[in-house]
Symmetry: D2
Subunit: 337 residues, 4 copies
């Protein structure tokens, strides 16, 4: 096996995708290829100061631009696409977060509809220190500077959906999309079920960091330079997105109400324990009940996203997804040298 | 004003739409035109006997075929399309209902995910007596015949969605779609906000009748011969589908959890009372609280649909939607002569 | 059989119950007894003008006073108490409705918690015309008078709960309580499962009328003079409150999210169709799906309440609850003469 | 200050509490007292082998026995009770977990009601190795032994509820109760708002360990020997239970649907950041959005419980709850010597 092919994409202003499905591929790639891409922030780069209110500077529905889609050769419905994150690096030394009227967990919204007026629209500009790996903002009255570790991730990774649908890049669902889980960080492999020929992978929505639940609806949003390796598992179905790191196996579910997102992720984990670790259904249910972690991803998007995690060192022997994560990890290490 | 133009569409097998948005128009119509259409049942006509299980005879995602879409000349985003139902007549003397595995309100589903096996898959064939206006089925053991009044309606009426999306015909949302409300019967005008040029109206999913909530997920499904008049309200926005009959004004909301569908419909009714009946916001809230009816539409689809209704004879003076319903009612009467 | 015994209760200020369970009986009654009672309004009579804001004049948790509890002789866990409403008459010529901060369907609440400030607190005084059977309020700016038919009902009817619990009179659950359904009107029989010896029936929360869903959280609240007949069905369990009128059988469910309230009521109706009408489970599911009405009761209380109804003239032959409703109807007619 | 008083309680079979509120105190304690208690497991010790099915050996509603209640002298409504966990040690070398019919997250339940039969009822017996600090069970076919670290905690800690209510020990709500969060471990201080004179603290439901969400509804249930220190914060209100460890501040919320539990916990954390760390409301919202952890506690009980956490070393300077946690930590250390 020779060196992997590197596909570099730095989209121009007019060439982002705003949906999963329904957009023409920007490139054709082969399993094993490395994608070296730039992703714009969720505001399409238009929020650059505390004065840039989303409702004024952004143009709906042109939010959450995606880099892609990439047509993956050989990918067919019933297969699984694997996307391994080799690096995710903020492309600028600043990021932005905001409140958006009638969006977020601690406000009424267009669907949790009330007669109350929206919360004030506020922008927080964050400084990113890429050397020290920190991000910080100053409170609105200037009185306090709050600093947190940088922990870069992608809020949005997905493929074209099933059922002939085209979904906004703001939506998380079975095709992935805007799941907004902090688990989507460097060193992680994301598994996505393929629904259409070529899979049509896109990614975007970089976050310098994000809390679990993404409470106000907006993370520390920034443009990213990101490298991923793409692989294909032929004949393996993945009904809901899964992630795998060196330390954990991770199922996701996206739905409303939030308990349904939880149920999807938990049931998927039971099925994973059955398939790759040989546990019988009810034993898997018992093991998950006592061993599982259940951090929330987002409680603000069109669907809410829940995560089910188990530490690998607590699992019985097994080889998830035919050992693909380890292979990709090794390939990434070789590539990094 | 001359006679309305009548546009007749009897789709061939390959020419139904399976989505809202994303399908090419089958015809261009003008405001005021009459559409005389055939709609196939939600099973694409494949369930014809008690042996025809949906999981065996239907081909996913080719469910809930829509007749259309119709490009309405002059329709632009921000306008409202009005669809007045002149007649809805079963096209056959039978209809079908079924359970579908992991679909319906009294079963776990793909999102309300549990470890329990699905309910048995059963088909009930209904006899339609179009003279007596009844429909009836015989219990599975043959011991009882249950007869109900026929009350024909369309489960699915909608336009292309906003946000660049394409949605399955099984989904109800702000664009209308699979709302499954028994209110969508003859004599009713349905108002839909236009999201794309030409609106792209489709309809289908005829029901000989349906209970409120559509509990098992499937109504008395039948092919229909349906006549509607299409009109356009320029410059009037309609965020969520509204209906109007001679006796009621009706708001709808589609979301999960069900209380959000309720909230959307109720808030929409408050706004309607403000705009067309001159009530101040909190007075409208009070009036709706005491005067409103809140029958459920469906509690089984991708989104649940709730309805808010008020009797017209309880309302203060006002002219909803510029009096369009009355005009369409009169036009339909003239046309029927 | 002789004349029924009439038990008259006009509570003094300090002798209302504020809970279901946990209160000492005010009287012992026998099956067949007639209760002729006064019930105070939900504000304990303290809201008497537009200036009487709930947050100022009411003393939490002393809201929703109940007349009772009544110890019903012979009632044991596993039995069913039947309460037939002979008359419900407003005791005053006025009633009140209000907004209450962080309470209602179109506002955030203490559990649907947001950062938004509450809606303004407003009182609407309603005039009751007991001759013309109407109720009316004037809009806040005095510009409009809105009149609706009177349709008196009790928002709260219940027994002591199971599981050793004592619940606030503001809560609806399996023991009944604050269900806030407009179906609880004259001519209706309410069936409640008995959880403790003596059942401990209470009632209150009279409404001159109420819309379905009780959107703002507060109906047209008034004191009532009410007459009910109490009966007992020995050895018949009733897991969730049921109602029966001359025209309908009616199941209820109270839970959150709202779809669970719907599920409970619908499943209860399936079981009712099985037990009293001889339908097999899946046939009952099918019949309910096509024949059922599903008006909401409340979408504002601690639990939301949904209703499942079927018209009696559509049902197969059957005798619900051993024919008790008809007996009570006849007894009430005899008593009224 | 002298040595703390140690109050030792080893309840006899008939002297557990089954509710919060409504039970007579077993002891009166003073702020600063140490409680050295035995708590029975949630099955009241009746599940002792794989043959002991809950539906057969347990007697409803006598589940989840609580040790207490303790009347805390000086505690009044509006105060906050602090309970610091000094040690939580399994009292036996075994524990049990089970499925319970129509209870748990991956099954329909009495409220998420469906027509499906319940899952099989199964008991798993766990071996506790108190030296190695592990717990383990063998799969049902005997083929695999699964071992996890012990991480003892209390599922249930609470005080008498507000609003004159008495709640089953199975319910989590604003009074605490059956929150089932793994955060309730040694070294943690739990803050509970006082609703009645004396607070009436109880605790029970020991778990050798539990996953987040408690998916099947039942943790690794075991009797515990537990030591806590009790303190009182006069004049400090705590609307929803809070926890504090050496590393985190932790808010909780208990409600349905699950997003409401999330909202309560998140809003409580915003208020905490405002009160004890000087952040303005929207800055606190922003900080929490990026810094918060949101692990679920239970998604199976009468209310679901969500947790909001922030690492103390990321917080701005501040002294939560007047520094009480540190004092109790030090007192516990002194006591342990």
């Amino acid at each position: 096996m020779g060196d992997p092919r590197i596909v570099t994409v730095r989209p121009e202003a007019g060439s982002y995708a705003w949906t999963f499905g329904g957009a023409a591929p920007v490139a054709r790639v082969r399993p094993g290829d490395v994608l070296d891409v730039f992703t714009e922030d969720c505001f399409a780069g238009r929020v650059r100061s505390a004065k840039d209110l989303v409702s004024q500077v952004c143009e709906f529905p042109y939010l959450n631009p995606q880099t892609g889609p990439f047509h993956v050769e050989g990918a067919e419905p019933g297969d699984t696409l694997a996307v391994h994150f080799v690096s995710i690096e903020p492309a600028r030394d600043w990021a932005a977060s905001t409140t958006v009227p009638l969006f977020g967990a601690l406000t009424s919204t267009h669907t949790t509809a009330t007669l109350q007026p929206p919360l004030p629209e506020v922008v927080w500009m964050w400084e990113l220190d890429r050397e020290r790996r920190t991000c910080a903002f100053t409170t609105r009255d200037g009185g306090m500077r709050l600093e947190l570790p940088m922990d870069p991730m992608h809020g949005t990774v997905g493929v074209a959906p099933a059922n002939l649908e085209v979904r906004s890049a703001l939506v998380p669902d079975a095709h992935g999309g805007n799941m907004d889980t902090p688990e989507m960080r460097v060193g992680t492999t994301c598994y996505l079920g393929v629904n259409v020929e070529g899979a049509l992978l896109s990614l975007g929505d970089g976050h310098a960091r994000q809390g679990e639940g993404e409470t106000c609806g907006v993370a520390v949003e920034c443009a990213m330079n990101t490298v991923v390796v793409v692989e294909l598992l032929k004949g393996v179905a993945t009904p809901w997105p899964r992630l795998e790191s060196d330390t954990h196996i991770i199922s996701t579910g996206s739905a409303r109400p939030l308990e349904d997102a939880f149920r999807i992720a938990q049931l998927d984990m039971v099925r994973w324990l059955q398939r790759d670790y040989g546990l019988e259904e009810l034993d898997a249910y018992q093991f998950l009940t006592q061993a599982g972690e259940a951090p929330l991803a987002n409680v603000c998007d069109t669907n809410y996203t829940a995560v089910a995690k188990i530490r690998k060192d607590w699992l019985p022997p097994g080889t998830p997804h035919r050992g693909l994560h380890r292979q990709l990890r090794d390939a990434a290490a070789a590539f990094a040298r």
